[in-house]
Subunit: 321 residues, 2 copies
């Protein structure tokens, strides 16, 4: 049984190679540039961990992990265009550096490359892995569309927001774990419990992401702190504040959202604190973390095999980056 | 043995249904809108014809045909964004009607849907079909990138242009035929001959496309005639004219390319005619058509089975739409 950190290092080594041909360089250099920016590689490691939960890690889990990471990078390249994001991990995004058209195409070919990687696995697993991968990819697109739709909506309910987060973020974490379980020969019940562990953990993870965007340490976070506030992005914190603010706070919050004052981030953070949105977010994270851990406990394998996943769940919720 | 027209009608009926769920409508309505615009559905019918060349059409060929058509529509949605095209088949493009971000995402989810459709086939063919599909999809992206690169290049050689056309257009036609052959149990030699037939036919097809954009009948063509000229697009005609023009014609052509005069289309067409680019294009089409037909002849099946493909090849080169 290997820890998340160890498998992360192993996966980073495995993934740190050229993935695309040299030519046409105008298409593939952007892809290589983006993959070199790194990242936490959480999803592929979840696939490896889901696989090791049921036995030794198989060669196929490395292929599927690679496919999952390529898929994730495809979504990031396209999301950055849609969000008009200049930076990712402190570096220029693909569309900023190479232009929008190339970024669209670089994303497209990255997605195809993910399917190429999937096609390397033992054919006995191919249909079930593809089926889960396709369903998840579709849901991720649906989640991104909902996220964009929310931008122009005056009010968004917490339930709708959580549904969006599940689609955009959670299902990819959940499916990564489940692909590992499928390749490990797990039964359906265990597969679904592991999926649900990942789904709940994903929501907790996003609460943390929203929290860090507002209250994170700029030196550790990588992205622009306060970016969500500047772009009026609906987040757990904003939705909670809009629900809980008193009339004076609500008026000030609406004023800030309507404008782009120089001290907008500072002012909105102050309202978040006054509404105790920061404390609430920590409580919410823990609720989802606890629910996730119950699903993990229910999986019918020896408890000691689950330790790395238990550790990871706690680690993801405490991260500062 | 069924004709292209008959299989076209059958495929149109088969494909004329809702492909996506109702919700989120903001994502899937654009996809349904775009698929309803129709199109020639050439590629899926090539899959059916490639399949029937070797036996009765199988259920799997309908799935693969559907996947190929969904893939083609994905490329069109994204290409229209990159080309800033307002119209497609006389109707608004997805990005014009629904915005660019949704168009990016609608294309993405259309591509995933294509893979969902592929995953419905008999598992014995899945790896080889996926392998060909992935390679072809990659090449189509490479071709589109080359096409964009050419836009900002001062001069493009005819060989490089033909390479781009092969990647962007031909390989998809060739691969459509080959998927049908794979599902029909054809041997490798027959598969590759059929692929090469499609590849050559695809180049002839693109020569015709470039020709129609310049000299087509606006009532039949669907797109804006002269669009390539207005956008200074490198085409077979422009590259030929740049090669063959005398100094006076070349000066006038360069002048027209540098500006956007009201009579730009008319003036450039006149130079094309003076350089006999129109006649040359017809000769070039016929050269590729002849080469395509030689590959078809070499395929080891009864000649009468090839008749629908022979007819189709002639039909595609004579089309006015």
């Amino acid at each position: 049984m290997q820890s998340f950190e160890l498998l992360s290092q192993k996966f980073a080594l495995h993934f740190d190679k050229r993935h695309f041909p040299a030519s046409p360089a105008s298409l593939y250099d952007p892809n290589e540039y983006f993959l070199k920016l790194g990242g936490k590689r959480i999803r592929p490691v979840l696939c490896l961990m889901g696989n090791e939960l049921f036995g030794e890690i198989s060669g196929d889990a490395w292929h599927v992990g690679t496919a999952i990471e390529l898929f994730h990078n495809f979504t990031l390249i396209h999301d950055d265009i849609m969000d008009k994001a200049p930076l990712r991990r402190g570096m220029e995004t693909v569309h900023s550096r190479y232009g929008q058209n190339t970024a669209i195409l670089a994303g497209d070919v990255m997605l195809v490359k993910a399917y190429e990687e999937l096609n390397k696995i033992d054919v006995q697993y191919l249909q079930s892995i593809l089926s889960l991968f396709n369903r998840t990819a579709t849901e991720v697109c649906e989640g991104q569309q909902m996220d964009m739709d929310f931008e122009t909506m005056d009010s968004v309910g917490m339930d709708a927001y959580i549904k969006m987060i599940e689609l955009k973020t959670s299902v990819a974490l959940a499916a990564s774990l489940q692909t590992g379980a499928i390749l490990g020969g797990a039964g359906e019940r265990n597969q679904h419990l592991l999926y649900d562990f990942g789904r709940k953990l994903g929501i907790a993870f996003q609460v943390q992401d929203d929290y860090l965007d507002a209250f994170g340490d700029p030196g550790k976070f990588g992205k622009q702190v306060g970016g969500d506030i500047l772009s009026n992005k609906k987040t757990f914190l904003l939705l909670h504040a809009l629900e809980k603010a008193n009339p004076a706070q609500l008026k000030e919050l609406r004023n800030q959202l309507a404008g782009n004052a120089a001290d907008k981030v500072e002012k909105v953070l102050s309202i978040y604190r006054d509404c105790k949105a920061d404390q609430w977010a920590v409580t919410l994270q823990n609720k989802y973390l606890d629910e996730a851990l119950i699903h993990l406990e229910d999986i019918a394998v020896l408890t000691k095999r689950k330790q790395p996943l238990t550790d990871l769940a706690h680690y993801l919720i405490k991260r500062e980056f």
